[in-house]
Symmetry: C2
Subunit: 140 residues, 2 copies
């Protein structure tokens, strides 16, 4: 598989202008740590990568399984330890689906396939960080 | 340490509109996999997170060490395996600095401190993926 590459140019203070797949993104630190909040924190981006990775798997698998839904969102929450390196000590993924014909078994199966087989970001993180998940259907 | 959270809303096809720290970002798949390239791939975002994380450490440490430089960029390249989950099998970080008073020893020390002690993204990935690095000063 061809290598992928991202380039980050320092753009003053703690911020970096990143380029990946032709898309641009600024990452920056919290003002408490010398940043100006011109973009998200790099470590939180790992959670976004995890949510996007498993979310796309679920979209793709539910399409194959012919499970219709009106809305799908993925929330990812991470808790970090205080000592350096401040790795996540726990990550929780919440899959929220809305629709009138949601098939719970197939949705669980799609999520299980993503987490156990397909999602590379999950596979890379879960060696170091315990990752839990829950499924919420049609929240009020 | 307070938990951080990111939310990704499915926005059609394979794309998700993500929110993190009040910043918005679209992630999307490659057109070969049903995406429309409306944003970067989630897995590549992991490399951007790694580059931003260690880059900010280096900026912060070089400031403390009073090492001046004119430009600093971080390139991160990842190779993935073909089988699922398609995790990175190798990640390489290239630190490129430009300046007339670059102190190689202090720059190496700053990078070493980031990779060995401070960078949480490196600490989380390096259990699963071999990560190498090189330092390039004043490339022609």
């Amino acid at each position: 598989m061809p290598a992928v590459k991202t380039t980050l140019e320092w753009s003053g203070d703690m911020s970096f202008a990143a380029e990946l797949h032709g898309h641009r993104l600024t990452v920056d630190a919290d003002p408490r740590f010398g940043g100006r909040d011109r973009g998200p924190r790099p470590k939180t981006l790992v959670l976004t990568a995890l949510g996007g990775c498993t979310g796309m798997d679920v979209v793709s698998l539910l399409k194959k399984m012919q499970v219709p839904y009106d809305a799908l969102s993925v929330e990812v929450e991470g808790e970090s330890r205080e000592e350096h390196p401040q790795i996540y000590t726990r990550i929780h993924i919440r899959y929220i689906l809305k629709g009138s014909q949601l098939d719970r078994d197939k949705i669980d199966k799609a999520i299980g396939l993503s987490l156990d087989k397909y999602c590379a970001v999950h596979a890379m993180l879960s060696k170091t960080v315990p990752i839990s998940h829950e499924v919420v259907l049609n929240p009020s």
